[in-house]
Every structure is written in C-alpha cells, then in structure tokens.
C-alpha cells in the first residue's frame, strides 16, 4: 500500500499540467521522458506499456512550447533526488528522499491542473478537464522493458515514473489529424 502512495506521487508527475516557459519541443520532451537514465550504476527507463500510455496522452493533449521547460526541470530535479540517495528503488529510499519527492509532486500538483486520485485501491488518472478516466493503475506491473536493465513501475517498485516528469497540455481539437 505504501508502494501505491509513492506510485501515485510518481504517476501524478507523469500526467500533470502546468503553464511555463519553453525551450523544448514536444518531441524532445518525449525523448527525454523515454530515455535511459543511470542511477548509481544501474540503467533505468520507463516500461513499454507506460511508454504506450505516455504516447497516447501526448497524442491527445499537446505540450505547448511554453511548457516543456518546466517539465524538463522537474525531471532533472527528480533524477537528482534519486542520484543523491543512490537508488531508484522506492523500497530502499529513506524517509528524507520520499519527503523530497512528495514535495516535488505537491509542487507540480499545486501548479498544474493534474487530475489524479486513489480510488478503490487503484491510482486513477483523469482527463485534464476532470471528466472521464484516462487510466487506472492496479498493483500489478504488466510489462517490463527489454534492452537495458529496466524496472517498470506502477505501484511504486521504483521511481522510474518519476523520470517522466510532469507536462502541460492543451486539448487538441479532434478534427483535422
């Protein structure tokens, strides 16, 4: 259950929305989220199934050029926290690390219009306008990645999801794509 809370914090970061100053394109941001990070000698990246959901979310909702910087900074902050404590495994993180990550997610939550909650034991991500569910995450991880040493996370096995950061969206109008 503790894992679920931390997973909640982590996935909230993934789907948060906030306006900010820009430098990156959506494509660059997606690359940053999907790349492999090395923490304490071990490579981590998000799992393939999480990548699918991330792509789907980015497909529906644009990251404006004004927002990517904020997200990029949050990703860097999260990685630095994990590097500072030498692990991406939530089970091994000390209370201080969890506290820092909680503050990070609270900050994103406060500055964005992310819609996420814990309901019936699951982490539920809603669409940015609050109406309709985008995804639910149960305790199981269904898929791991391949080439590098990866840890897939939904309910908090590690903080790989934290690497995905938060991003800002504006709804795409679904006519001419």
């Amino acid at each position: 259950m503790k894992k679920l809370v931390l997973g909640f914090l982590a996935v909230v970061m993934l789907f948060a929305i906030v306006p900010s100053v820009n430098a990156m394109t959506e494509e660059q941001l997606k690359e940053k989220m999907e790349k492999t990070y090395n923490i304490n000698g071990t490579d981590f990246k998000i799992s393939n199934d999480m990548k699918v959901m991330l792509e789907r979310y980015l497909d529906e909702y644009n990251v404006t050029s004004n927002d990517a910087d904020y997200i990029s900074n949050k990703i860097d902050e999260a990685i630095n926290i994990l590097k500072k404590y030498g692990t991406a495994d939530v089970n091994k993180l000390p209370a201080a690390a969890k506290s820092e990550l909680v503050s990070l997610v609270e900050d994103i939550s406060a500055h964005t219009s992310v819609k996420a909650t814990v309901k019936n034991g699951k982490l539920v991500i809603n669409r940015p306008d609050g109406k309709g569910v985008f995804a639910e995450f149960d305790k199981l991880v269904k898929q791991t990645g391949n080439e590098t040493n990866t840890i897939a996370i939904i309910a908090g096995v590690s903080f790989v999801i934290v690497l995905a950061g938060a991003f800002v969206v504006t709804k795409k109008f679904a006519t001419n794509k």
């Binding site: 393939n48 699918v52 669409r127 109406k131 991880v141 269904k142 794509k177």
Partner: protein, 210 residues
C-alpha cells in the same frame, strides 16, 4: 433629529465594517493568496467530475494508423466476435476486475486495434467469457468490431505461461498483434488463485471498414 442620529450611527458602523473588511481582504490577498491557491490546487487534484459529457466518438485515420479521441478507461468501445466458438462479447478499454465483470478488457498499456502494435485483451475463464479460448486453432478468425472500425486477426499460436511471465506479452509496434488471455487452468476441478494464463496470439489480416 433622532432619525438622523440612527442613520448616522448605522452608516458609520457599516462604513467602518467595510473599511476593516477591505483591509483584511487586502492582507489575505497580499500574504495568503499564493498559499491558499497552492493548497486549493493540491486538493483540487482529486476533484474529478463524476459526470461525463456527451462522448465524442473516436475517429480512425488509416494513413497514419492513429486514433483521435481515445475511449475513456472503463468505456465500451466495441465487441469481440469469434464465430468458431460462438462468442460475441463487449470490448472495454481497461481491464480492472470491475470491467471484466461485463466482458473483455483491453489492457491500457497496450495499443488500440488498428494502431499497428500489440493489443492485449483479457477476460474471465467463465462460461460465456473466454472459457472456450483453448478451442481456437491456427487460422481461426477473431474480429474486433470497434466504434471506429473492424479489425480481423488470424490465430497463429497459443501457449500456457506463468502469470509473471511478462516476456510472453511483448509490447511492440512493428507488427499488429492481438494477444488474448485468460486464467488457467480453465476447468473447475482446479480451484483457487490461478497462477497461469492461457494465451492466444493472432495477427492482423485486414481492416473490414476501410
């Protein structure tokens, strides 16, 4: 004269009240507004509307193999039709236990039919669900009739795997592959928590609604 005094007293009191209230409100805005908005925003993270507006139907772009307006998690978006085993079940996006109560669940971490990647579907092994999945043979057709198009898949193979064998559920986008699974053993002589899965693999043969 008395009236004048009464009106003056009232007016003075009201004026003082508004003056002090204005000072308070100004102080709250200057010193507290950021904090109030900060905590309100955190709390509003879990403010989600329970009511859905009229849904916009998904639209499928064949050229790009992309879907506009993905179905919400928990929503029915089609049917699974397998003539060989006389099966027609509603297809939902998401595969939580409460969804599987009603039909076939589509794993949200896999692609949607038509996107050119792995589509993972799950259903219970009860009668009326996937209990006849083992009867499928190579060459049998599975149709996914979605609200944005119909997709046919030809069964290729099957296997029985441990529930933790995630490598048997590869998420990829090189080829459109359909993976259907259910808890195994299917028969009722083995009871309790099923730790194996009966998995059927099929590949896309065509899009009937082009």
């Amino acid at each position: 004269m008395n009236k004048k005094i009464i009106i003056k007293t009232f007016a003075t009191n009201v004026a003082i009240s508004f003056f002090f209230a204005a000072i308070f409100i100004l102080l709250i805005y200057i010193f507290g507004n950021t904090k109030i908005n900060y905590y309100a925003s955190i709390i509003n993270t879990v403010a989600v509307s329970a009511i859905n507006e009229k849904e916009i139907e998904p639209v499928y772009k064949v050229e790009t193999k992309r879907i506009i307006n993905y179905p919400d998690y928990g929503k029915k978006y089609g049917n699974v039709v397998i003539s060989k085993i006389n099966l027609k079940l509603p297809l939902y996006h998401g595969d939580s236990l409460s969804i599987l109560r009603y039909g076939v669940g589509h794993y949200a971490g896999s692609y949607f039919p038509g996107e050119g990647g792995t589509v993972i579907l799950a259903a219970h092994n009860d009668v009326g669900y996937f209990h006849r999945l083992p009867e499928l043979e190579k060459g049998d057709i599975v149709k996914l009739e979605t609200n944005y198009g119909t997709f046919e898949y030809k069964v290729d193979s099957h296997k029985i795997v441990k529930e933790t064998d995630l490598a048997s559920f590869p998420i990829q986008k090189e080829k459109e592959m359909l993976i259907m699974y259910t808890c195994y053993p299917i028969n009722r002589s083995v009871v309790g928590r099923k730790t194996e899965r009966y998995v059927v693999y099929a590949y896309l043969v065509g899009d009937s609604d082009e």
